[in-house]
Symmetry: C2
Subunit: 580 residues, 2 copies
């Protein structure tokens, strides 16, 4: 585990929203675009309409068309604007006596009713074109109309400028989905995922493999939803990720796996988190960090929407410490500038107990990195979060050493560092004034293989992964000794590593957050068709819900009612509005 955090790789991506200028790096993306040239989908195959409302242009004038859609609005019983997912088109309501029945249907149907109309595409009279409307040069001269479904009075108008509370939008999600923004977001998501699949499956031979969601609990799985089985006292868990399965697929020789995987995490009430979320889950055999990095660069470049500026590759990359230093600032201009240096020899005779301990172990080492001008931009809270990260993730203590302009050491351990060691360090690490040196010590096993990397887009972490440990003994040591996990729960994975596991690594991208950033949406709830509220409720169907006791019986469980809310039991059949 030693010093993994030092090489943790963070990656910055240019913003997709155009706020920061993109660097254009077109040759690869042009080649990929050619490979993915596709026909325009047929949007009216199989159905009653001949065309979509939104596609009609001057070139369609004279054609007889049948359209299906929703009544957006009417003006003076003369014009009706019909809407489908593709756009709006103006329909002329016939005024002559012979078409009285058609007029009646089109004038009496409430707004948001569903109608089918047939007629001819005609040019609008000169001067009446609407340049703001893509179909603004034409209109439909209707010959027949059918009311397919009348709409009752709506709880709110389906107009994008309407302000609604989010609770109302979630309660009537099926109406909110008719908005331009939700239609756009869900279609963008579908298209981006489809392009990712083309890249992975068709261009690079990945195999799309579904892994189970009724699983065994994982060590430390306190955030896992549980599912009682028909076996008394036995539970499945919903997985936080397909991590174990994708590694087992590598052991199984599947070579390159991906999945658009549903994952589950029960974090209680947290804003902008969902109890179920989706990740683009990828794993490859015989790969290193560079390979994963190229894969992800190509994947995002290929799937990036064409109406956004292309993604520049290679992605700027930086170590964890560098990224930390640059949070909230512009991109750092140092890349791979810091080296991890083994300084064990300097401290063979140290009096610092922590370092002594480490060096007394068979594989004990002391390593360090030097952050130039660190005292200028590393705040105390940065150092603290770095120490916490190292402690949480790698069970490593980090000792920061600040070198002040007067060349006095400023650190809890500074006074225990001898002058000779000090000079040697300065020479080895190329320490300058205002440098910050970060020291860590521990047992050095073959863990510089468990490299971890993150993909960061506009300050949001949207991906993370690592080159895995494929050595059973080492993995056991990490789990049992360093992470203090219950190894029994992972015995099948440990055993699998013993039976010819190839070296492998992978990454997982948070799809909801990625699409959210690309779409410029305010919340991940805006890129999910049916999201839960921040308290985990489906406000439309009212889930979770109470169950009759007989439905718990086959699962051998009963509810433990908290003492203070005994009263709730009697109100079980009342409608419950948790967010109100």
């Amino acid at each position: 585990m030693f010093s993994c955090w030092l090489s943790r790789l963070c990656r910055g991506l240019s913003t997709p929203t155009g706020r920061i200028t993109h660097r254009i790096h077109g040759s690869l993306s042009r080649r990929l675009m050619l490979g993915s040239r596709r026909r325009i989908p047929e949007l009216s195959s199989f159905v009653a309409r001949t065309n979509t409302c939104g596609e009609l242009r001057s070139s369609h004038v004279g054609q007889e068309v049948t359209l299906c859609g929703w009544i957006q609005y009417r003006r003076q019983n003369i014009f009706l604007v019909l809407r489908d997912f593709h756009g709006l088109v103006q329909v002329l309501i016939p005024q002559d006596e012979s078409a009285a029945s058609v007029k009646k249907i089109l004038c009496e149907a409430p707004v948001e009713s569903v109608v089918q109309v047939s007629g001819k595409v005609i040019s609008r009279p000169p001067g009446q074109e609407n340049p703001k409307m893509p179909t603004g040069e034409i209109e439909i001269q209707v010959k027949s109309a059918e009311l397919l479904n009348a709409c009752k009075k709506l709880p709110f108008e389906i107009k994008d400028f309407m302000k609604k509370t989010e609770a109302l939008r979630l309660q009537y999600r099926y109406l909110d989905l008719r908005s331009f923004q939700m239609q756009h977001n869900l279609r963008l998501r579908s298209q981006m995922v489809m392009k990712m699949r083309e890249y992975l499956c068709n261009l690079h031979g990945f195999v799309d493999i579904e892994t189970p969601t009724l699983c065994k609990r994982t060590p430390g799985g306190a955030k896992e939803f549980i599912i009682p089985s028909r076996e008394p006292g036995k539970f499945y868990c919903l997985p936080q990720s397909p991590q174990q399965f994708k590694q087992l697929l590598m052991v199984g020789g599947l070579d390159r796996y991906f999945q658009v995987a549903r994952c589950y995490r029960d974090e209680g009430s947290r804003p902008d988190r969902q109890p179920e979320f989706t990740q683009i889950d990828i794993e490859m055999s015989f790969v290193d960090q560079t390979g994963i990095r190229s894969l992800i660069e190509g994947l995002l470049q290929y799937s990036w929407p064409r109406d956004k500026d292309p993604v520049a590759v290679p992605f700027p990359s930086m170590t964890f410490a560098e990224a930390l230093a640059s949070y909230g600032t512009d991109k750092p201009d140092t890349r791979f500038g810091m080296k991890i240096v083994d300084i064990s020899d300097v401290f063979r005779n140290t009096e610092v107990e922590y370092l002594q301990d480490a060096l007394s172990k068979p594989q004990g080492t002391v390593k360090a990195i030097c952050i130039s001008e660190g005292t200028k931009y590393l705040k105390r809270k940065d150092i603290e979060s770095l120490r916490k990260f190292a402690a949480d993730h790698f069970n490593q203590e980090v000792l920061p050493v600040f070198l002040k302009a007067n060349r006095n050491w400023n650190s809890p351990v500074a006074k225990s560092i001898m002058e000779e060691q000090r000079s040697e360090l300065i020479r080895l690490m190329d320490i300058q004034e205002d440098s910050v040196v970060l020291l860590t010590a521990g047992e050095h096993r073959k863990v510089v293989r468990s490299q971890h990397y993150d993909l960061v887009l506009n300050g949001s972490e949207i991906g993370g992964g690592s080159i895995r440990i494929h050595d059973a003994e080492l993995q056991h040591y990490v789990l049992a000794t360093l992470l203090k996990e219950d190894v029994k729960l992972l015995s099948h994975l440990l055993q699998a590593l013993d039976f010819g596991a190839p070296p492998h690594g992978g990454i997982a991208l948070g799809l909801d957050r990625l699409i959210c950033l690309v779409a410029g949406a305010p919340s991940i709830r805006d890129v999910i068709a049916f999201p839960k509220s921040f308290r985990g409720y489906d406000l439309m169907s009212n889930a979770p819900d109470s169950l009759p006791p007989e439905e718990l019986k086959p699962y051998h469980i009963q509810v433990s009612w908290p003492a203070e809310s005994e009263a709730e039991k009697s109100s079980l059949n009342q409608p419950y509005h948790p967010e109100s």
Copy 2:
């Protein structure tokens, strides 16, 4: 609901396994093939190898290659056969002194160890080619080798001819996945699904939308897994299908939806069923049965593996009664031969109480179909299953009337049918000797819209769907009055239908079963990477598993131990082998 079962559509597909000759219907499929022409995937991008083992041919002779794979076997410490997902290749173990370290690695590594070798592709000496092996003309002259991971002694040999018990295969699934058959099945599945996505998304503008799996329970959801939430007594359920959500998406104007959807059904122990399974879930607005049928024909044709004979379209189709009659026989030669006839007028003065009742209602009708030569092939059990189907699905009673050669009616109601009615029926229905007439009566509302259809492949039902009821009032009537369901649980769907729901319909294909049939696999477990045993257990990780009580606490549940198995509690921490 009335008479829906009469028009229930069954479809037969030619067998994909070549046992029955395919009819070739190439024009559409050729056009589609051109549209989907694709480049060959790059299988060695991003990784340490230059080539896969299986791809090397004479044309590679002279090339320097790096290969990664598993040691399949060794002969006399001279030859080593290396395997990856793509195939086998023969490696020459160097015998000269200077390459002693390479020889040591390749000779000492146990079978199924993972190695990386670099060397030159050379032709095999004349006479030593192996025509049975795709790479049989060449071998690898190795220059360097690295042992990436040594394999411990295996529980069974990874050879396809080895017979293993299925429980052992499931316990060591990651080893079983290395077999040719599992590699083939999972790759076939991935490729077929990818082609389906291309057809739906790229050719026909469908939107891939993810729907939730933490849901509200549905009416009659006794087979739904339950998930306790952090709200005392409140549970989510895992969905048996995304049915409600896909209909709500149509109300939301998404127009054409699809999803490769994970579904859940807790059926306890049933052979060849899985507690979680996958369906290709499709829904369209403004579509009728013919449209769905064309869509499915095109979908299967486009996604059908090229090394199988192409799928013939249009699919042969038949009514439910016809299909029933033909079960176990050859394909019936009647197509669309039977008409549903409204015979209400014949029975205006009937004495049959059941028919009287129906006709006394405002929309009451009596309808019938006549099955020619039905007495020859309809067995009593066929009639019974048809009656049961109608009763279960549509709350309709079916009265079979057999017409014997002597023209005597043979039926419980026969004696109540007057001679005049009899003659009129014979004329209207074109009743012949040996015909069977099926009568049904009920309220005729606008339900000839709720048509149901099934897709049947080689006698296995792999798909089913319907044109939905988009009228809120009618749907309420069907749910509450006919199906006796708790309408409260579906109030959001009923309300949605009131707010401008378009006419819509769809279908769901059982993906596991479809792939199983196409692959010719003996069980759906052979086309799923990590299936559960027939008792719902994951034999590899041992799920479901017991949980410590503190993990149940946040969910306000406790286990109700059955009295007879109190003893089990004390053995909670013992390994448990449910299938042994």
